[in-house]
């Protein structure tokens, strides 16, 4: 663990940008049709519940990383294995996000550039940031947060000014029954993007005001959830359900359709900026967490030495993981939530929390005797 501290505001910004990262890219909760924004809000509440599990773990071990306290909870041998599995999970997710962004860049802006090239350039920047440490990453986040919000605000203004919002497209909201909506919210959408906040268990110990963590975490999850819900609602209100769910990148389709006074049009670069800011922070956080975790599990004295090798592994896996974008998305919607997100985001943390609870109760009793 490096000797660094980040402020509450910086953590807020990191979580916000992390959540917005690749969730802006895909039609989130598209299967819920007109109620997609409602499903996102339900998933956000599910995200709060998951956050409370992680917060509970953090409260038992406030100055230890996930990979450290797992060893304390499960013992040295089993703990090391679980910590190693978590490192693999973080690297795998980093590779998935990198692939998402690489493929998006190719389909949208650089059709003749090889995927490997686009991904390599992206990961080199990430490796450079990760080598500099968490403080630099947090300050970069602070800078980007302002830019991202400016872009989002002007984007909303332009959409409203161009008069493309048709609220009738959002009706009927309750075409799908309430229980179905709940089911959708608490299964797929909660894992991506809200459950991914588990990576911050590796960053919480750097916070200089841990007593405010609950407010910061819930606040940033709520802000990002509301933003995502609004953006999805605007998507559907402008494009209609059919086009939104069929479109590979609904936000891009939306931005391309902006036309104000015959001058402001083809604002694709907006999309690219929003995308790159979120994606960069998301991949950097995953990579940073993987690097510190690996250094911790394998007792490497200088974590920065691992940044480049881990970056190359992420790059290779991002190429190997699927032969086409369709396959990649198919995996991401089908197998990944069920076999990867569910155990790592819900089952293992819940088990850890239960064991930690009993262990600490025992300790508390012994101390009081």
């Amino acid at each position: 663990m490096e000797k660094a501290k980040i402020s509450g505001y910086q953590l807020f910004v990191l979580i916000f940008l992390f959540e917005m990262g690749s969730a802006l890219l895909v039609p989130l909760a598209g299967e819920a049709k007109q109620a997609a924004w409602l499903v996102i809000l339900i998933a956000m509440i599910g995200g709060f519940l998951l956050f409370f599990i992680y917060y509970g773990l953090f409260q038992y071990y406030p100055d230890q990383l996930l990979t450290e306290f797992v060893k304390q909870i499960l013992g040295n041998f089993l703990g090391r294995i679980v910590a190693f599995l978590y490192i693999l999970y973080f690297i795998y997710l980093a590779a998935r996000v990198l692939r998402d962004f690489g493929d998006t860049l190719l389909t949208f802006a650089y059709p003749h550039v090889p995927l490997f090239f686009a991904n390599a350039v992206f990961i080199l920047v990430v490796v450079y940031t990760v080598r500099k440490g968490i403080e630099v990453l947090a300050r970069t986040g602070e800078l980007f947060f302002v830019l991202e919000n400016l872009l989002l605000m002007t984007f909303m203004l332009l959409i409203v000014a161009s008069g493309m919002i048709h609220l009738n497209n959002l009706k009927p909201i309750f075409e799908i029954s309430g229980t179905e909506l709940m089911k959708m919210g608490f299964t797929k959408s909660v894992f991506f993007p809200f459950g991914e906040v588990i990576v911050f268990l590796m960053i919480f110990p750097y916070l200089n005001e841990p007593q405010r963590l609950k407010k910061i975490g819930i606040g940033s999850l709520a802000t990002s959830g509301i933003f995502l819900a609004i953006i999805m609602a605007v998507n559907i209100a402008v494009l209609g359900v059919d086009l939104t769910t069929r479109s590979q990148y609904p936000l891009l389709t939306l931005i391309q359709s902006i036309e104000v006074a015959g001058i402001l049009e083809r604002l694709d670069v907006y999309f690219l900026f929003l995308l790159m800011i979120g994606g960069f922070i998301k991949i950097s956080v995953f990579t940073y967490v993987a690097v510190t975790g690996t250094a911790n599990v394998f007792n490497v004295k200088q974590p920065s030495r691992l940044a480049y090798p881990v970056g190359i592994v992420i790059l290779l896996i991002s190429i190997i993981m699927a032969s086409s974008y369709t396959e990649h998305i198919h995996e991401g919607l089908g197998a990944v939530p069920r076999y990867i997100h569910l155990p790592f985001q819900v089952i293992i943390p819940l088990l850890l929390l239960i064991i930690a609870f009993f262990k600490n109760r025992k300790k508390g009793r012994q101390a009081s005797k």
């Binding site: 693999l88 795998y92 995927l115 490997f116 090239f117 090798p309 881990v310 592994v313 896996i317 993981m321």
Partner: protein
């Protein structure tokens, strides 16, 4: 050399996971291996050069850092 070992130890399970994902999607093992390594067999010259440069950097970084550690030992 430790860093090299760690890199391999991370890379191998992740390749197995991505092959496993392919198998879960319904491909057989042969096809999923073909899918996984096809991007490395079909490469543009520019892509290949970048790939080799990155690999050389990777190998170089293991040894270079080792030497540096040896030099700075006395100062610490």
């Amino acid at each position: 050399m430790k860093i090299f070992g760690i890199t391999v130890l991370i890379l191998v399970p992740l390749v197995v996971i991505s092959l496993g994902m392919d198998i879960l999607l319904g491909f057989d093992l042969d096809n999923s291996i073909k899918h996984a390594f096809n991007p490395f067999l079909v490469k543009d010259p520019a892509e290949l050069i970048l790939f080799l440069i990155l690999l050389v950097f990777l190998v170089f970084s293991f040894f270079y850092r080792k030497k540096k550690k040896g030099n700075t030992k006395g100062q610490q």
